[in-house]
Every structure is written in C-alpha cells, then in structure tokens.
C-alpha cells in the first residue's frame, strides 16, 4: 500500500505528464530560451519559446529532472501556450502561492486547471524547488525580454 501523501504528490495527472510530457524537445526555431538548474540535486530544465508581439506563440522544454519537475514543466507549456508574457508572471505567482500555502488550504482544481495537481508537493518541502524550477526558468526569459523592451 502506498500512503495517501504519496498518492497526492504523484497524482495520476502528474504521472501522466511525466510519462508523456507535452511540448517536449527543442524546436528547430525559437526566439528565446533559458536554462534552469538546481545545484542541490542536478535537475536541469531548458525552456524554448517563440514570442510574437509579446505572446507565446510556441513553447517547449527539455529536462533531465524528476517527475515533479518534468510534469510541472509539461503542464506549464500547456497552460501558457498562446498567453501573453504578463500572464506568465500571473500564473507563476499563483503557482508559487499554491506551493507555499498551508498544506490544508483547499484548491479548486476545476477553476485552476491541471497544474493545481502540484498542490500535493506542499507536504514535501524538499520537493517544492523541483516544481518551481521550470516556472523560474521561464520567468528568466520574461525578465530578459522586458529588459530589451525598456
């Protein structure tokens, strides 16, 4: 028997994204990319985006990382495809708030979308960084692009 907290951490949707990551692989053409690295464990994520008029036209990733990190990256690409770079910051904030919230705070999966499945990570403080790594990597692209704009 696998305990409840593990089931919550590795929900079906997380396992599915880990096994069949969406938007995986470096595209032939992209306008921006960034690499995220967790020196504590060696997890590595590369994010590739094609920006058009401040919108994410295409987004993909590659990783050598754990299930949590990989699933988080995969869900991120699905959630943000076609979104504006402003939306990136907003969604990333939501994720951070979710992961750092009280472990018993309830999450409305219906309204939040698939990535809310990451809520199970809250009970595993050592793994929060894994879930955040892809989002931080994408935010680095955003920071670089807004520097260009200024």
């Amino acid at each position: 028997m696998v305990n409840e907290e593990l089931h919550e951490l590795y929900q079906a949707v997380i396992l599915d994204h880990n096994k069949r990551p969406r938007n995986y692989g470096a595209p032939d053409v992209y306008t921006h990319s960034a690499e995220g690295y967790n020196p504590l464990c060696g997890d590595k994520v590369s994010v590739f985006v094609t920006l058009e008029d401040g919108r994410i036209e295409k987004i993909g990733f590659e990783s050598a990382a754990c299930a949590i990190c990989k699933a988080s990256a995969s869900m991120m690409t699905e959630a943000l495809s076609g979104e504006s770079m402003q939306a990136v910051e907003k969604t990333a904030d939501k994720i951070r708030n979710l992961l750092l919230s009280e472990t018993d705070a309830s999450i409305d999966l219906e309204s939040e979308g698939e990535w809310a499945a990451l809520a199970g990570v809250r009970k595993f403080p050592a793994r929060i960084k894994c879930a955040l790594l892809p989002w931080q990597t994408l935010l680095n692209i955003k920071r670089r692009t807004s520097n260009f704009e200024h």
Binding site: V2, Y10, G42, D43, K44, A64, R127
Partner: protein, 409 residues
C-alpha cells in the same frame, strides 16, 4: 561457546538511540551512513558531559578545567594516530573535515610547491572536495590537473595512471573508497608507484575510515584525511594526518591566536606541528566527541563489523539486481557497502521521496561526484549505504520499498 564469534549487530544497534525511532510512522531504516553516520550514546553523553562538567578553553589556561579540557583535547590526537595505524600524535592536525584537510594541503602546495607546468594527478571518481581545491590550485599557479580514467565497472585504469604519472607530477590525490560507487582503490600500489618518482600521495579517507581498519603506515601515503561525522563522531571536526617532514615543510594555513610562538610587530614565529595549523580556539567539543567515537569504534570487533557490512551489501545487491529495471552503477569487485542504483526511468529524486515515505532514508542526487556520474551517462542516482549498525531487516525494507515503487510508476 563457539570460536568463530559472529559480529553482534543487534547489540550494537542498541548503542544508537536514533535507530529505535520512527519516521513517518515507520521504523527508521537508515541507509545514508555514507553521508553521515549515526552517533552512539557514548558520543552523545561525552559531549553532554563536556558542557556540563568540563567546559573550558584549552592551552594557556592554568586553572583546573582548562587543564582537563586540554588533556582531553590532546589525548584525542593520540587516539586518532592509533586509529589510523600510527603513533606520532604531532602528525595529527584537527580540521573541520576531510574537505578542509584537502584544502589545507592544496593551499600549502600553492604557496610552497607548485610551479607553472607542474602536474596534479587525481582520478575520475573523486568527490568534488578532491577536485575543486586542486582546480583552484592549478589556476593560481599554472599547474595542470590530470585525471585518471575509470572503467565501466568503476575501477581505476591503472595503466593510464602509470602513463599519467610523470616526472612533472607534484602530487597524487586519490579517494580511498568511492562515496558513489563503493570502489576500493589500490592505494598501496598507487603510493608505491608514485614514491618511485618521489611524488607524494594524499588519500581521501572520508569513506574508508568508517568502513575498514586503516593503517597509514601500511598504505605508505603522505597525507590522509577523514571526517569525524562519518566515523560516529560530531560534525565540524575532521583530521588531516601528514608525514612530519611534509607538515614541517608546509606553511601555516590560517593564522592568529594559538598557532604562534611569539608575536612582534617586527615579525612572528610560529608553533611547530601540529599547532601551526590550528589557529584560534578550536572545535574542542568536536575533538572530545571524536575521541569518544574512536574509542567506541576501536572497542568493536572491526573485522567482524566489516564482514557484516559486506554481508548486507551482498544481500542487497542480489535482491535489488533481481528486480527488473534496477541498474546498479559501480560494480567493482570487493567494493565497500554502497549501492548506487537507478530504477527504469524513475528519477532518483522520486525514488528518494518514495522510499522516504516508508521510512527508508537513502540519498538521491549527484553525491558531489558530477564528473563521475557524467562518465556513466546519468545525472543522478539513488544511493543506499550500509553501516555496521544496519541489519537484514533494513535490507528487506529497502528491497520491498523499491518493489512497491516499481509497481507505482
């Protein structure tokens, strides 16, 4: 009464209070001793008693407590010397750990040995602590870092070692037992070959000192370092042992109080060895705790402990290998009680979290040997390491948890 006495690991387990605790509602299965060992009650009580009854600064005090503390501190030097098979306590320098021991030597060589074009020889299976200090030393002096390759089993390529060892080599620095692979390196042979060219050898004993009886005299090495916390002692204390002629030749490491003979604004003279390497108030509690740890270990049947660890390793290796999808990294013959493994395409972090839910503590990650894991084509592994206080139930719980995980992912 039987003449061949079995190592009584059940009795030994009772010496370690933490081993009877529970984590996450399960009995603790501690398989991370290569990261740090657990502490026997005698070490915990010695430190407690030091602060309750003996706390005082050492050297220069003329009062009762200071004399007591100084004695306890200095007697540990002799215990350390005996523990590593030698007698001259002056050759024992207290440092923060194996890492600081290597840094001390690397820095000493920067100041008084290395010239541009000199070569430093290490191996592909070194811990970052035995790579980075030499990289920095090379950058500072124009010396060149050379690396002995490792084969697919995790065994050093000794032909390559001989080819890389030249008249330009100024030091060989090699790990005794690999923390990630468990490989036990032929240090004695390495020393013989290096000495034939007058090259000194530093042995990183962080993993060997806890695992097997070590004699620096028998190894013949010039420097030997190990960490207190891996030999059942406290963190923050470790040992650099060096041959007298080398320690006398090297300059002081840090400077300040306690390492001097006389200070004058016109100039300062330093203490002899080992004092010149120990500036400031040292980690007195750590040294005294280390002394208790070495007392504990030398009171054990160490050969029996080694055989017991090997029996645990063999059982775990056999049972893990029988699980389809498990791949063990590091299969050198006669290795120490460490198993680095992968399970299908499950990432080692997920393995670590999964096993932890069953109270099984293993390490997951790069184990501070990134170049080595790169050589094996993996970014990380899960690592189970066994100490003499583990038992066969621990092996069973590990194997059971891995089986369960296989079904889950």
């Amino acid at each position: 009464m039987s003449l061949t006495k079995q190592f009584d690991y059940q009795r030994v387990r009772a010496d370690f209070p933490i081993l009877s605790t529970e984590v996450r509602g399960k009995p603790l299965t501690y398989l991370d001793s290569a990261a740090t060992s657990q502490k026997p009650l005698s070490v915990i009580e010695t430190i407690d008693q030091y602060y309750r009854l003996e706390n005082s600064n050492i050297h220069r005090g003329v009062h009762y407590l200071s004399e007591q503390a100084t004695d306890a501190y200095e007697v540990t030097r002799t215990k350390v010397a005996n523990f590593i098979g030698t007698t001259d306590a002056d050759e024992v320098v207290f440092v923060r750990g194996a890492t600081e021991g290597i840094n001390l030597i690397a820095q000493g060589f920067v100041e008084s040995v290395f010239q541009p074009g000199d070569e430093i020889l290490i191996t592909h299976m070194e811990h970052h602590a035995n790579i980075v200090p030499w990289q920095i030393a090379a950058q500072k002096t124009g010396a060149v870092l050379k690396v002995v390759p490792v084969d697919d089993q995790g065994v050093l390529d000794m032909d390559a070692f001989e080819a890389l060892l030249t008249e330009k080599t100024r030091i060989v620095s090699v790990v005794h037992v690999s923390n990630a692979l468990g490989t036990i390196n032929p240090v004695k042979t390495i020393v013989e070959k290096a000495h034939a060219l007058n090259v000194p050898v530093l042995v990183d004993g962080a993993q060997s000192a806890p695992h097997m009886p070590v004699s620096v005299r028998d190894l013949g090495c010039d420097f030997f370092v190990f960490s207190g916390h891996k030999v059942c002692g406290p963190t923050g204390i470790g040992v650099l042992w060096g041959k007298r002629e080398w320690l006398e030749r090297l300059p002081p490491y840090q400077s300040g109080g306690d390492m001097i003979e006389q200070v004058d604004f016109e100039g300062t003279t330093y203490k002899g060895i080992p004092g010149k390497f120990e500036a400031g108030t040292p980690h007195i509690e750590g040294v005294i705790g280390l002394g208790a740890a070495l007392d504990y270990l030398t009171g054990l049947d160490r050969e029996g402990a080694l055989q017991h660890e090997t029996a645990l390793l063999d059982r775990a290796t056999e049972q893990l290998s029988a699980i389809e999808g498990v791949r063990i990294i590091g299969t050198a013959p006669g290795k120490a009680s460490v198993i680095s493994f992968l399970m299908g395409d499950v990432h080692p972090h997920d393995i670590g979290t999964f096993l932890d839910a069953d109270g099984v503590a293993v390490r997951a990650g790069h184990h501070c040997v990134q170049p080595l894991l790169k050589r094996f084509g993996v970014p990380a592994t899960a690592r189970a390491s066994f100490a003499f206080y583990n038992d066969f139930d621990d092996v069973e719980r590990l194997v059971e948890a891995v089986r369960k995980m296989k079904q889950f992912f």
